[in-house]
Symmetry: C2
Subunit: 723 residues, 2 copies
């Protein structure tokens, strides 16, 4: 009954589904491709910046305020202050929380720099330069190469390019494959290793609605936090130290307190992680009929194990919070993808598209010669791959779901790889990767819960034993030694108990010592987890070889497939997301999820109150309630709704990794942070849905209202540049 | 992806939440109170009729086209054609359905009169006259009377008035108590006993969305059917006979094919069953904290029993369909009421209101003397009543949930009552009730499922045994004979098996024979169910005495309470619903259920397609799909949405019993049938919610589209008067 009756004109504005632009807002554009965008029409929609003011290869433009931090953040002060999502900073806050000093629950604020605390495990990557190196990479391949050979040639050249670029400089480089291997781009970053927490709101604000509201609209989440980047006094990248000083970015974003209205132009920049929009129907078939069903099964089982463990003890609960959140999020996304596949009939559409493409190619002998073989060969490749899919699936999920095993495999592989010349090693096992590996080995201790890890391992060993004949994992078979039923259960129990009892992989000092050891010394330890890693190694190596060969074939075929589509559709093409920075245009826009239902583009504080149940995840902090009742809203009311704005919908095309992405108005001012997509957008990773896909944004006015009126964080407020 | 992008102006129209009128649309007005309504402002809103054109005491007006038929129907042709809801005619269609000839599933259409089939158990009541008889009734009571005495005096006078009114005439009368006993009104009806089914759509249209969508918006249900009323050739009321002829009503409703728009004035007439809007907080307390929790428990248990039985066998499934639907509906409504009580804080509000009323009365010694005693005395009455509430609850639910027991108790009571003079008998057991009782005893056979009945009886016997000390039911205690645990279970099993094995209450011929017997002969049969009825009689009689005394007290206090409220609030007051005909004004209007969500006032055929899952209750018949794909929409498209309209929202104030009520535009043309309320309106029976309550209407254009374009029922279409 709190909802106000809006004036007629207001309703008008809230539901406007402006046809213009929506269809055209698909695309995650690399910065070097900005010239492909229709700037004339973007200016009509409200963009007031020139392309060079967004990104100039020479180093200018607001894009340089945007940083990678696991997901995305952006500088909002000259003193290294970064704004990102609460759920992006979540792990940092959680690692600093204890049952007694529960920053996760209560929020954290450092009123002065001295009070800022380390964001353990967090690194900030500031983009320095972006360079096309396609010529050098493709020079090393030729038509006659086999797929594995092809893969290795590209990998080796990639490593050489990176080594050259990093040599003698305080930088981190990454070579990104674009459009399936059509293009190779070198990204050079300055890596900031001393990141601190400045402010995180209470979880009941930052995660209001929790898993229930995840992927949902209407949304009412204050999903933001502030961090700060620190460097050595000489400006170089450094580990945490009292002597470090705030980093001074070249660019930072001003903030608009004026707000947005339906139809307003907005742009977004961030680091979307992964999409597969050019995937063949054979791959989609695998996803629909194999991968997602399997993934959902494993995630559901994992979630049950984690939640059981979490319910048993408060301290464990805190250590598992981040992991539970992540599994929950991946699970809900997987459900959404599954539903999206069905609802939008993705597989049928892909097949239909490929049929039409084939007809187009067949009509022209030149095109047939150039592209005709691609789809049949992709089909053959996927058939080949499906032969070992059960085994491959369990093997990789087993390793990455189990901390002890993951560390043991990694430690042993490091020892083995270190025997080679640096340039010959697997990516991720070169000297340049040593610092981040050590950080990982160290930081992992905080959330290590052996009891849960043990259960996970048992689970995967069972799953391994259940694999079909011909796909058995030898190392696991050796453990079960042909036992069945109760006897096998007993064997499993004994084996796993011994493993965890005798291993030293669970001790941080030991892990770091193991990291320095030669392979011989490491193997001499007879640590049972290292021994398990050694036993699994042949199978893991084979899996990796298969993947490499597949990847080599992909890098040969995918560019052809994409080029064929481009010829057929005559469209400008953007590369799939791959963790590199992208630009999106869009507008603030409502949508209609189904007949007779319309969602406004904005939610308000009364909606927060309306959802309150007093039970997690719908608890409203007393301070917020008080200010709401006092109506102490300052200048933060939205002029249309007459409410404190909370979240917004925009048509920007985003995916995982875009979390925390700054959403920017036509003048280049920050108006909000991307933190989610609506449920209708979940299957966008495979097929974009222009009518219904929306990004969910936390309105920067909600952020300002909270830090100003509710929590009175004057220092933080003053550091921001508010227009 | 089917949803069309609407032109801007369309969106505007769909979401208009016109402030005007909503608040004022509360009220279920008796026809004789039409003069209390603000006709001037209704005319501004679009009403074009004078009050006399709606209802004139002399017999004119469209109200006379509206008939009671369990719920509501209305005449739509001069030849007795009646339109009502599919769910109102459901029982009739179901009783005529078999596994082989499944009209329920496939729909039914009689292309000629000769093919029309009896709507077994259905009677149509046509209003003949409405007369205030308050003076005569209240003449027989005086201040000095005890509550039971008062009750009996009123009851006796009621029976006399009815006898006089019915004597020598082919009519049925009912004396309705209004405003708690402030007013008594005599309704005279012509009862039509030969009712036939003309057309029922397939269940997948008439019940599309089923229990999932029940009480929900957006809705996509084609909830309509056509029946026809027949009378003897001389125009008198008669049982089914080949010789009967269609009834010719004085008035029937023309149909508008022009449709409505948001904000349009609409009126509704029908027979709402029961509301309690003037209930005291003591009664609300009972409902919130006792009645609804108990009711929900029993309905949940019954539903489980019915669904189990239904899942076992197809033929039983068909016989139980109507009952399952009804239990489901009552259960969902009960959940809604429980939620509404909580959401709108009904008990706290009532208490607050009574506190203010008391303050108002206390301020004036005259008012205090006249009304001051009412609330304290109501409190005392409810306290008194709560002492036997567990027993009373189980006793009445046991009887009415069990067909065999209900019939046995009724048969024995008939035999007992028949020993008295007609005027001295309990209402319902007079000669005037004999025909309908016989019909009931006969028609009940069709859906009798002894196995389910048996389970129900066992359930209630257990519930009876679990009653607290001091509230035991003696007849049940005698059966258990002090046994406990397994032994009691065994005893129960034996007792019930014997009951059903030996009784003849389950045989229709025997029941009708028993109905004619004297008490002595009936008791000599030694039928075990009749014996159970005899054993329960003392307790049932006591319960009835308690209820009568309570009712007598209510008829003394309720008018005072209502008068006190009227004095305090200075408002025009309408009586609670009680199954008599009522008039409602309203308008077509959208609503917003929560922050950032807006519901349009209309749904369309694309929404039907969108909801399709291919599984019950979301199956779209092939014929409808075909026409949808062919876009063969005729003139039935809504000019705003460009779609075939399906359902509408209006602000008319309705409740159970209003199902099938004609919804009529300002010109007096039928534009739709009420068939449900939204979830937000479910607790309206106790506290009206003006902002969010909506009635859900099947748009008459959907009806016309289906019978014309989809099913080509030319005869039916031609019989209607379509403007």
């Amino acid at each position: 009954m709190l909802r106000k009756r809006l004036p007629f004109v207001a309703i008008l504005c809230l539901v406007v589904l402006s046809g213009a632009g929506t269809e055209a807002d698909e695309g995650m554009w690399p910065l070097y491709d900005l010239h492909k965008l229709p700037f004339d029409s973007l200016k009509v929609r409200g963009l007031m910046l020139e392309p060079e003011q967004i990104y100039s290869p020479e180093g200018g433009g607001i894009a340089f305020a945007v940083v990678s931090i696991g997901a995305t953040g952006s500088f909002v002060s000259p003193n290294g202050l970064i704004i990102t999502n609460h759920h992006v900073a979540f792990g940092a806050v959680q690692k600093q929380s204890t049952v007694e000093r529960n920053y996760l629950r209560d929020g954290f604020y450092a009123a002065s720099r001295g009070e800022e605390i380390p964001a353990i495990g967090y690194n900030v990557y500031v983009t320095l330069s972006i360079k096309d190196v396609t010529g050098r990479v493709l020079d090393v391949v030729d038509e006659g190469m086999g797929d594995l050979e092809r893969y290795r040639a590209i990998e080796r050249m990639s490593k050489e390019i990176i080594r050259e670029a990093e040599e003698g400089r305080d930088v981190k480089c990454r070579l990104a494959k674009m459009l399936g291997g059509t293009q190779y781009v070198l990204y050079t970053y300055f890596k900031i290793r001393d990141v601190r927490i400045v402010y995180a709101p209470p979880r009941s604000i930052g995660e209001y609605g929790g898993d229930i509201d995840n992927w949902m609209w209407p949304r009412h989440t204050g999903d933001f936090s502030f961090l700060r980047a620190y460097v050595a006094p000489d400006g170089s990248s450094a580990e945490f130290s009292e002597d470090n000083v705030p980093y001074h970015p070249n660019v930072y974003l001003p903030i608009s307190s004026a707000g947005v209205r339906g139809g307003d132009f907005v742009m977004m920049m961030g680091f979307p992680g992964h999409t597969d929009r050019y995937a063949s129907s054979y791959y989609i078939d695998y996803l629909v009929n194999y991968y997602y069903p399997q993934r959902i099964r494993i995630l559901e089982d994992r979630l049950a194990m984690l939640e059981d463990a979490s319910a048993r003890e408060a301290s464990v609960s805190l250590r598992l919070a981040s992991r539970i959140g992540s599994v929950n999020n991946r699970l809900k996304k997987s459900y959404g993808v599954r539903e999206g596949f069905k609802r939008y009939d993705v597989l049928r559409k892909k097949r239909g598209e490929e049929r039409l493409l084939t007809e187009f190619l067949t009509a022209d002998p030149v095109l047939t010669r150039e592209f005709g073989f691609v789809l049949p060969e992709l089909e053959r490749l996927h058939q080949e791959k499906s032969r070992t899919r059960d085994k491959d699936f369990i093997l990789s999920w087993m390793q990455y779901s189990n901390d002890f095993l993951d560390m043991a495999v990694t430690l042993h592989k490091w020892a083995a790889e270190r025997e080679k010349d640096d340039i010959d090693r697997e990516p991720g096992y070169q000297d340049r990767d040593s610092i981040s590996t050590k950080e990982w080995l160290k930081d992992a201790q905080i959330n290590l819960v052996p009891a849960v890890d043990k259960e996970t391992l048992k689970y995967f060993m069972w799953r391994g034993w259940e694999l079909p004949a011909g796909q058995k994992i030898q190392a696991l078979e050796d453990i079960s030694a042909g036992k069945r039923g109760k006897k096998r259960e007993k064997r499993l129990s004994e084996f796993v108990e011994k493993l965890y009892k005798q291993t030293r992989v669970g001790e941080v000092e030991w892990r770091l010592r193991m990291f320095r050891m030669t392979r011989k010394d490491l193997e001499k330890l007879n640590d049972p987890f290292i021994e398990l890693a050694i036993a699994l190694k042949p199978e893991i190596d084979e899996l990796e070889e298969r993947d490499k060969e597949f990847s080599g074939a992909q890098s040969r075929l995918a560019p052809k497939l994409i080029a064929a589509y481009a010829k057929w559709k005559q469209e400008k093409i953007y590369p799939d997301a791959n963790g590199t920075m992208r630009f999106n245009h869009g507008s603030v826009e409502a949508f209609s999820p189904r007949d007779a239902v319309r969602y406004d583009y904005i939610t308000g504080l009364s909606g927060v109150m309306e959802k309150e149940t007093g039970k997690d995840p719908f608890i409203v902090p007393a301070e917020l309630k008080w200010v709401y009742e006092q109506k102490d809203f300052g200048n933060y009311l939205d002029p249309i709704t007459g409410e404190i704005p909370v979240n917004l919908l925009t048509t920007n095309d985003g995916t995982g990794g875009n979390s925390g992405s700054p959403v920017i108005n036509g003048k280049g001012e920050l108006i909000g942070l991307d933190f989610d997509g609506n449920y209708e957008s979940v299957s966008d990773d495979y097929l974009y849905n222009p009518e219904l896909s929306r990004s969910i944004i936390v309105d920067i006015r909600y952020v300002l209202f909270l830090i100003d009126k509710v929590y009175h964080l004057d220092g933080l407020l003053q550091e921001l540049t508010i227009h």
